[in-house]
Symmetry: C2
């Protein structure tokens, strides 16, 4: 039997720095747990543009299609702001999502106890928070046609199209219901069915899937603006939230920020099962490329490390090993080990990016 394969795409900004720590963790699993991975590495985003004039080459795309899981750092940076829309770093990431058909983006918003005071919200509002946002990732206004900037009479018009088919809604709804069964057994679906017909269809399809296939899971619906409000007011009312690509982008970022643990949050983007039974998968931290602190050994690698933990859980069916890695991170935090973004109180131990990697390895 061959080893499972990983493609690492460190990307831009702090991406390479945090990914270096993940490579050490991967090494640890090989050495200590006998879990060997075939790891290859390639470019994405601005780094790929600098080398090849495109944020993702066809060759890299091809590799991504043929590995068991992709680990991505982050893309983007001010240097690339002037680039044409079609070659911006983000297009590399969007191409991966689209061509790998990674329709279910799992974004846990979890508040780490040691960091609860970090939130701008009151401790009792966020302590113990653990929700899962399932964002549709391959359709909606991110990819709908027609799109572009066209001339109409004497002015230009910017156009994007929100489009959802029944089957696109069905499959992401199933992902959400499946996850809910392994968690708190509740799904809240969010759209703007009071304003958008695509939201009307979304609500109808999610309701149908719930009633016919998951009658045991409690399903509720909320308009996305009310959802944004309720996330800020009392996020613990939610278990699993399922929503479209654009609403999911805003709502999951707001939820992540609420936890106070932004530098800590991982994500998984999953598609259909491959021939070997594993889902197509890409794992990446929720945070961005943070160009302001890149190259200073200040970046917090935990979100990227926990993204690898999600890979262990969702791609390699190693739930116990994922638990182990997550527990190691909790231990390190409880011990007061802190990268610069997490420093808050006297008595904490400031560490660099690799210092945090050391601490997690030691805790493992």
């Amino acid at each position: 039997m061959t080893n499972p394969s990983l493609l690492i795409l460190p990307g831009d900004g702090i991406g390479p720095e945090v990914m270096a720590e993940v490579r050490r963790i991967i090494g640890w699993y090989g050495e200590k747990r006998g879990m060997h991975f075939d790891v290859s590495e390639d470019l994405v985003g601005g780094a790929a543009y600098d080398a090849h004039g495109t944020p993702l080459t066809d060759a890299t795309m091809e590799k991504a299609q043929n590995v068991d899981a992709v680990l991505l750092g982050a893309v983007g940076g001010p240097k690339y702001d002037v680039l044409d829309f079609s070659v911006k770093p983000e297009r590399g990431l969007l191409r991966l999502r689209k061509e790998m058909d990674l329709f279910a983006n799992l974004r846990p918003a979890q508040c780490f106890d040691a960091l609860a005071d970090f939130s701008s919200l009151k401790r009792d509002v966020v302590a113990g928070l653990d929700i899962m946002i399932v964002r549709e990732l391959t359709s909606g206004i991110y990819f709908g046609e027609p799109r572009g900037i066209i001339q109409e009479g004497n002015e230009r018009v910017g156009i994007n199209t929100q489009r959802y088919t029944e089957s696109e809604i069905e499959r992401v709804a199933r992902s959400a219901f499946e996850l809910a069964r392994r968690r708190g057994n509740k799904v809240c679906s969010m759209e703007k069915a009071n304003v958008m017909e695509s939201g009307v269809l979304w609500r109808e399809v999610v309701t149908k899937i719930g009633e016919t296939e998951y009658p045991d899971v409690e399903l509720s619906h909320m308009y996305a603006d009310a959802g944004a409000m309720q996330l800020c007011r009392w996020p613990k009312q939610f278990d699993v939230i399922v929503t479209d690509n654009l609403f999911g982008d805003l709502l999951s970022d707001a939820a992540a920020m609420l936890t106070g643990s932004l530098g800590m949050l991982p994500s998984a983007s999953l598609g259909a099962p491959m021939a070997n039974g594993r889902p197509k998968a890409l794992y990446e931290p929720v945070h961005g490329s943070a160009p302001d602190i890149a190259g200073q050994a200040k970046a917090n690698p935990i979100a990227c490390i926990l993204s690898f933990a999600m890979a262990l859980r969702y791609s390699f069916d190693q739930g116990a090993e994922a638990d182990r890695l997550e527990a190691a991170v909790e231990t390190v935090l409880a011990d007061g080990v802190r990268t610069a973004d997490l420093m808050q109180n006297e008595g904490e131990t400031p560490v660099s990016t690799s210092g945090m990697g050391d601490a997690v390895l030691a805790a493992l």
Copy 2:
């Protein structure tokens, strides 16, 4: 000279209850300050549907076009959830916005000192918060064509279209810059220019208006997901935020909730100047129709009262009188007068909807 005219549309749920208190305030201004208004009243939303089978009759639309300002309570309720999309209560409100061409929706997110502890955010994050969200209100995905649910092959597809013309972006940008000049002189524009071409055009046009017409105003740009994050993290970094219809819907609701003063927040929707120089205008509370507490004399009328204060300021150029009304509300709150939604501590005085109206009148 004739009196300025007001059309009151109480709408559904708690709408009629809170509007009753506004009518008393309007009466006070006539009696005590010699400011007389010609007030008429009509139906909108579910109430209009019940009476006429449509959430807004042509006759009401016609009236709205010919008054100096419209005051609206709230629309919607579970009773109407089963209605077809085209006659839902919300369509009445959307028709008013569209046909009156109320392109600039002003949503102050303000934290009242007496209520700061009410926020789910920490006191220092929200105390003294005073930001203004300017949301484009007549275009974007709310109104773009094509839209609907169509059959394609063997499944249905839900479609909505985001469309922004240069001139639509220009006029709402100007509203934001004008407001900023009278406030903190900063505008932050939010879109998803990294993903949507309509966002690319938005950013370009706002930049152009800023550089050519408002070089004295500080302009920044943020992706809407980062904006949602930053609103949750440190809202005081903002002065005026300008954004599109859909992002504005979510972001302004999140901002409103953050203040802890949701039952307190008014809004103004303004269009182009009419022949008499006044802008077309509709004023409404940010909160909804709250069917769960309707008819129980529990509703907080302050958001609706402060919406009338916005009318005094923006439609009738009575800034000093608006200040007076706002100060009266602050006094009442400082005195511990509280509707049910605001009760928090011992020693506060619980009042009904009309009790709050009494208190504001007394403070005036």
